[in-house]
Amino acid sequence: MTKRIEPEKQRESTLLLGLFVLFLFASPLTLWWAADDHPWFLPYLLWLLIILIGAWLRKRYRHYDL
């Protein structure tokens, strides 16, 4: 039973992460982080953040791929 729920959770988490990426990079929020007075590396930090969340999710559900 557990094995059947895992893929569901993985799908849900992936979808949530996807929505977060869209919120961050494909919404009016870009106007906020792309403000002139922000440090030049801010987009890279945000990019790194979503990659790290993706890596954490991958670690959490890695056994599902096997």
């Binding site: 039973m1 992936t14 979808l15 990426v21 990079f25 002139d36 990019w47 790194l48 979503i50 890596a55």
Partner: protein, 983 residues
Amino acid sequence: MTYELEILFGASLLYLLILFLVAYVTDSGLLPESWTANSPIYVLSLGVYATSWSYYGSVGFAEKEGYQFLTVYIGVTFAFLMAPILLKPLLRLTRDYQLISLADLFAFRYRSQLAGVLVTLFMLVGALPYIALQIRAVTSSIQVLTQEATPQLLALGFCGMLILFSILFGARHISPREKHRGLVAAIAFESLVKILALLAVGLFAVFGVFDGPGDLNHWLNNHPEATRALYQPVREGPWVTLFFLAFCAAFLLPRQFHMTFTENFSVKALGTASWAFPMFLLLLNLAIPPILWAGDYLQLDMDADYYVLGITASGPRWLPVLAFIGGVSAASAMVIVTTLALSSMCLNHLLLPASYPDPKVDLYRWLLWGRRLLITLIVFAGFGFYQLLEHNEGLVELGLISFVAVAQFLPGIIGVLYWKRATRIGFITGLLGGISIWTVTLLLPLLEASGFIQSQIDMKALRQSSGLGYWEFATFWSLSCNGFLFVVTSLLTRQSEEEKSAALACRSDATIPVPLDGVVAAGSPAQFAEGLAAMVGPEAAELEVNQALVDLNLGYDETRPRELRRLRDRIERNLSGLVGPHMAHMIINQQLQIDSQSKTALADSIRYMEDRLEESRSRLRGLNADLDVLRRYHRQILLDLPLGVCAIAPDQTVVIWNRALETMSNLGAHQALGKKLNTLPEPWSQLLAGFAAVQDQHIHHMEVSVDTKPRWYNLHKANLPDPDLTLHDPGARTGLVILLEDLTDLETLEAELAHSDRLASIGRLAAGVAHEIGNPVTGIASLAQNLREEPDPAIVSESIEAILQQTKRISSIVQSLMNFSRSGSVGADFKSFELNEIIQEAIQLVKLTQAGKQVSCHNGCTGSIQLVGDRQRLSQVLVNLLTNACDASKPGDRVEIFAFANNGSVQLEVMDQGEGIPKEVQEAVFEPFFTTKDPGKGTGLGLSMVYKIIEDHKGEIEIDSAPNVGTRIIIKLPHNQTQSTHE
């Protein structure tokens, strides 16, 4: 600092030689597979995404459009983070159905050759500018470093090397469906080189041009316009459009599709790539802003596209060469992989349908050389495009034109993965619409700018009137037109049955598979090969059939209809990897036809459906998943039932063979499933087929010889009518379920109990036996004593006679005892014997007991009655009954035993004058361990053994008893029963 052309040529040649070496060492197996087929190599190989556009063009893009250049990579990041719901289903499809390109995927889903042709042509048109861009990047980079025009021969030589590499390592195997480990390793190596080169240039920008991060920050503080120039376009430009285009390109570009799916070796690697590949892209792009600022700082007088080379001029002498090699690696990897992917598409969807080879020709060689020829043609077409193009388009523009082109496949992908109602006409109409808008908005302006044509359409005015930017306008209108036509036409048209079935196979939440619609007309793998030979030639047909047999773990002698159906499916999948899904489907449909006349029952499809369900189990969702859990639960009950269960389809083939039956028969399910009952090994064939054929629903106590040992079974069966078949034809054949109950252990236990009961009786007889033997022994001793001194021969002779008589008496007692106590095996042969003999023996034995001595036993059996049965066990019956009668009698009472033949049966009666058996006890006396005797005087097994033995002899037993009057036990046995009637 300028460089000699020869140095750069030599460096490029050396680099390409190393690349050849990496590919060769990997392909020839000199390196362990774990080194070359692992997740890091796969992730690096995906780095083919970063072409010379990324390597050189990103800096120019950043200069013009600021941080918008990041969209090209963040869009890819989005696609890869969505891998579990986007890329993994696609990977499953491409692996399961051997689809080696996007054109294959669409041709498979929409069951349309035209779809494959359109996709291939469009990919070709979209990719050629991109290939040209790579060649241009290499020649321009040489120009930057040498400050001289690059000879065309050098560009041609570069193309020649790429053709050679692609042919040697990308079209090396006979079949394109095999993985090219050498190619993957080489592309991974190229990615490593370009990221290291770009990071080296980036570090030089920070530490060589500026004086470290502090100095860079200081410069940025003094030049706030530098940071502003990066951020401002994000707020004002087509950020979302570019993000969307990059998302599509991440898996729809031919090279990305090829490396992500076709060359993938494990799902796990894709999982790792979901975050590691975005990380690779992040690192690659980290160097871009410092390089741009370094270029600005140095006030380089060149196109920002080539700042990567330009800023290194002030650095160590090796750095520009390294930077140049990085660019070569970026360009060559893209051209090689794109060419390979396009060649597969062109082969399957253009060349094969246009000129399918004669079956006499070796198909594999034809395909291999066809592919090689196409590789050459595609690279030269790219070179031709490069020659024709004016150099006024930036690297980014050429790349983005390709991006918008591949984005046109997105509606089709939605049809593949999520919308099963999408039709082939919808897909083709939508794609044609999208292509038309793409041509008008992007391709024509490009050709116009290059001076090829004079367009009458004023795109600029149209664009301005719409209020959209250049890329937004082209992307929005091409995709809107595409999507609208796709949806509307799909809703207005109907799918063919084949399309419906393909759409179901593509759905990520696969639904319950449909039952088989018939069996393959060919009845054996040999006939399969014969049929296929007419299309693919005898040699290829034989190889393909054998490969599919190996894949399914089947033998060449396979004849089971379901397995042959699976074999057909497998061959189609394998052929799909060879000649494309549409051609494979056509060949299979023509040469391995389904006999639709032979209507199959649900039971015939069970294994086929269950295999499909097992394959797609992890993808079932909602109600389907719940139903599957229920199905597995019920199946588990059948499999684990401690009774042998065998379900048989109407055509007498086995569809269920559970674990208990595997243990009973020593025949694994894989050996029995799908076989006809009469082809199973003996004795199961005779036992099951025989039972299936008879009318009886139950057979009890069937003796079967298994491995020369007797075993006993109860058999039960029930019909399994198939509603589909019986609805129209009530007399249609039905399936059966047969249950086997193994009684052998019970029989053995009963035999042991009977023996224990006999031993208990012997214990009770022991004292009497001792006494009975003791008297004649004393007599013999006295006679022998007298004989020693007896001179009279007459008396001696008389004494000897007396001794012999006493000895006979002892022998008789001992013989009776031995007959009784012998441990008889279950199922001993039934033999004919004289009933009177065993009655006499039983009386003799019982009279040895204390109780037996006190009563008068009378044998009322008159005449000779021959009985067929187990003599020893029937003797036990009489001893047990007489012992009970004597125990119940008072001293001096009379115990009588009568036997007479009556209407084909023999009736035995044992009567006593004892206290009788109370009515309420009479029903319980035959139960094991029930006794009315005092503790220690009876085991409670006597009458239960009597009941069992009489039942085994197909007899009946009754009790007629009245308190204080006596008891009469009546036994009726069939008179002439033989062993055959017993079975």
